[in-house]
Symmetry: D2
Subunit: 360 residues, 4 copies
């Protein structure tokens, strides 16, 4: 269980990092949505490793194949099966460590839970699992854009101790894609690149924060009480590897305001009810109110580092792990399209849920 | 939809703040768990308003009735229906505001989504809805304690700009319940009380952070990839009214560490694999590893304040809202048992899920 | 688990026959549907025991209370909680048999599964559990009628060896309600009444078949491949106590036809695609095509009889069960509104599912 | 939606008959179950067309590939992705009929629901969709056999007007596989073969009944009240293409018995509670009691026939359909492994559900 997300727009992902392939099945996509492999490939390419000096050196083409659910360029309303072959799997790289639990990886957790694990890479805990999410998210994103004009933009807000200055109201994907760290604050991006290089040289790794803004959100998405929009967003984003925190709107910082500072006054604007401020982050009572959604996800520094680490073997003996080979000092840039994909999946699901129960 | 939580240990809550009653149905609780109304009442009493000067003045006995699923002091394995009558509902208090959208409340969101709302209080968005959660959580908590010895302790970690100093390894419920703000740092608790009084006098409100620690967590809870333990915890806690942020382990603060600082080295201790530090917060790869769970929830300042506020009417006209009557300047102390309840519900669900798929 | 039905229009039932009450929570009903307790009571009254000589002698007013989800005569879009008190529970009637497993009842099965059972009546296996279904079904039925003009009529088609002659195309509820057995074939109904009296005198019981027809079914309900409309109908109806068989359209009898006899030729009629015959029973490929749904449910003879029966005690000793008191020789007439309720629940759920994914 | 089955042992199938491939993802299978492609292939080979004169002439190797979830011969507890390429798809065969609705096929239903359909064969309504079910069922079956010794045997009980004489208590798979119609009554099997040949010569088709028996069923499977074992079995089997009826135990025939004839008396046998007769078909109150499960599924005659048929075009004009090429006059023999697969999926799911909630 646990490999399916969504109630109406549902994605099931499958695949280990070093099995034959990874993929996803998307069930519940409405019929007659124009869709091609190119729509999906565009997002997969953003996620792909080996693109630049800031990401892992694994080289995968990550070419997606749509095996069902699309006919003559349109969705059929039936399950869309997407497959990406693993072509650059090098299980032998992992052989030296198969008897060691890599600290803060999932090795020990899987072994303890299942009594078995695929030691050839991260298995299901690998970042390769997110390929299925990004592919499914590309479909969700297209649905939202075609139906509602919804626009989702995520970007690197923080790396290590460097904080970017970004205006969520105006930031564009072009600005995000303008540099290798996907940070639209160009000056800060330069510093971030330098910091990542520093970490690589140290054999160390960095974490940070990805922020996402969603504009043109339909009013009414989200359901009381357990399936509040922010609750499902939190689940979606806290299900990503390495995420340790989530916040929406004012988030943790808002806890130091008083109610009179924090409340968003209503006014009529452009012929409809709007708020003057947006501490709510676009949701009130768990439901979107038509203001931009703003959320942030905290990612811990990558667990894979080159420095020697204390650990234990599968036999319970003390050991020192010295990793070799690929080492990705900062996943934040690649996390950007993944965050967007998860946001798209949540919104598409709630779009259909709202369409079922309510009339626009 | 959206009123059911959990996959195997499932709770469905129902009830508006000013309807006849509120309640919950718990489905999936194992049979032969000793259970009485007293078990549930104890937790409801902690959540109840009107207990002290720091909470809302609404006076409800909140007496719970178990209507099914328990026989001769034990659960039957069938649905447990719990009902609490609304005895102090005063819908007339809300009549003056029925045509105004209260800022940062759910009034406008519900109206926009459903085209109708119960204007007599917060409806489903009211804190009264959490009665069902706390009742169900009491059952989950008892199950976990009886089966696994699991202990869940939450407390107020921060109010406004006041931060408590608490050791999660040793904090006890007795320490938490020792004062009205449920903050085990007695000195800080005094300051918090003063700050809350100040806010009340200003007609204003305060937010803050509740932290929870879970000790004696079974190894192996949580499922890759979407139903990671932290993902389900995040959903559970971000589904609470007024919550704006969630973090586990190192959380947002951990983003400024490097991987070598953040990774938790393994060692053998007490005959099993343990970590020396706990930046992971008790989960790795989405799965509990037997270390204490540590998580935090950010609550914005309460939306209900006594100060006048700009808003619009349901007819789209500018208006000023001047609330009267009850005013709860800080929900944090009452949020403590609710946070514990949500944590218990997630753990009980994953306990059963693990029991289904794996063998201990 | 197992006490919730439906994906979007969801009902959760709870309650033992001799606990304090029985009830249901309906989640997912669209907002602004006019609804009152009278709508529900009308259907509960049809299900109620003690109405005539053909039903059980238990006397329950079965008065329903709506505790949430309705405001000023309309649904709110939030959960609708319905409660019916058990006022005529006589657990002492069951005390003599508490140590015996009643043959073909659920006593042994519950004991074997849960290691505990409420011996005061049938517990969850009691027909009283269907109160929640009928209450929820009344809401579903109203939704379908208001939105689609859908009309659901069920009736007793067969009791023991007596088969009624009924035209599904024209049968009305008035004809069904015209006699105590709810068989619209008046002559056959007389014989059925006599047969039931005969069975009662023998201390024995009878089974039979309920047939249901649904007219004005929207086109497009049902989803490939597992959630075909007939699959969900089968589940709904096979979940009723005492049901042993389900068929749709030509059913088992159709297996002796050839394809050229069985296929339903298409033609244009009233401006749309229609079939000349209806062996399909209104569904093709799991999807409604706008022809009337026709289905049948087989109910075994009631397990409770007055004749002595061989059984064993809970201690594994041979025993003879001699029931006393209430004895309902034929549940078929009371099953009619229950069958209608289940059909309504399935259709309402698929109506919302279709509304989510497709555009009419 | 609708392409996933099961709550804990979950299968999602995907694929059109003439898309690139068909497949299934199985989520929730316990870890460390020995599993190879050969286990699955054995069942797929039984389902495969082109095996003998009684089945469709489509020639597919139907070679299965396990793409994830298995490592070094054992399941990992992660999703098992299975893929079968479509190698003999001949979409051009369907081109002449793309503008006609084939009577009693799903063409019109899909078009009416989705506004689009893959006219190259049956799409999702094709029998090829059942490949995913059979593959998943092979895993479920192996789990049940290894854990509980459970044995599932299905066979052709009736074709057209020919009824086989089979003893469910003793029938073996070897007897079933001994002839091309999978009817263990050898004499009747001969007549069935002749009848099928007659139908083929007529350009017509035949229906019938598949019966299944399950021996060594664990006690306690099934959940009150909606997820009764027979309810989930009914759903599973009524979700198969061409099924029109389902019954368990005494089924429709049992409706002509009285309660004293139908009730199954209890006795102690082999040290546990048993029933002398088995009119219940192995379930009481929705729960397995350790007696053999016995169920039957009615399949209508195949919709594809060679005789000319009245229909309408997609433009609403009257037309005559004259099919050419492949024509499978009776699907019953191939339905046997599919019925077994669906039974296995239901039992595996309820096995895990019982394991979660109850202790053996």
């Amino acid at each position: 269980m646990g490999n399916t997300f969504g109630h109406l727009f549902r994605v099931t992902t499958w695949g280990e990092s070093h099995g034959g392939a990874v993929g996803a099945v998307v069930d519940g996509c409405p019929p007659r949505l124009p869709l091609s492999e190119a729509d999906i490939q565009a997002e997969l390419d953003r996620r792909r490793p080996g693109q630049s000096r800031v990401t892992t050196q694994r080289r995968e083409a990550d070419v997606c194949h749509i095996l069902s659910g699309v006919f003559e360029g349109q969705t059929l309303g039936t399950p869309i099966s997407i497959l990406v072959w693993n072509t650059d799997a090098k299980p032998e790289h992992y052989a030296p460590f198969r008897h060691l639990y890599r600290p803060s990886h999932a090795d020990y957790a899987y072994e303890a839970k299942y009594g078995i694990r695929n030691w050839q890479g991260g298995g299901r805990a690998s970042a390769r699992e997110t390929i299925g999410r990004v592919a499914a998210g590309a479909i969700a994103r297209k649905l939202l854009r075609e139906r509602c004009g919804t626009e989702i933009v995520a970007y690197v807000k923080q790396i290590h101790t460097l904080y970017a200055n970004v205006d969520p109201a105006t930031v564009t994907r072009e600005q995000v894609e303008a540099n290798a760290v996907r940070c639209p604050d160009a000056a800060c991006a330069e510093e971030m690149l330098a910091r990542i290089d520093w970490a690589r040289r140290q054999g160390d790794s960095l974490g940070g924060v990805v922020e996402a803004v969603v504009r043109q959100v339909p009013v009414g998405l989200g359901e009381p009480v357990f399936d509040k929009l922010e609750a499902d967003l939190a689940k979606a984003l806290m299900s990503l590897p390495a995420s340790k925190g989530f916040e929406i709107g004012s988030g943790f910082a808002g806890t130091t305001l008083t109610g009179s500072q924090h409340n968003d006054p209503y006014e009529m604007r452009e012929g409809r009810v709007r708020t003057r401020s947006n501490n709510s982050g676009g949701v009130q009572g768990g439901i979107s109110i038509g203001e931009p959604l703003i959320l942030r996800v905290a990612f811990k520094p990558t667990a894979t580092i080159a420095k020697p680490q204390q650990t234990v073997s599968v036999h319970g003996e003390p050991a020192v792990l010295e990793a070799r080979g690929r080492h990705d000092p900062c996943v934040l840039p690649r996390a950007v399209p993944i965050v967007e994909a998860m946001v798209a999946l949540v919104l598409a699901d709630h779009y259909l849920r709202h369409k079922a129960q309510c009339d626009w």
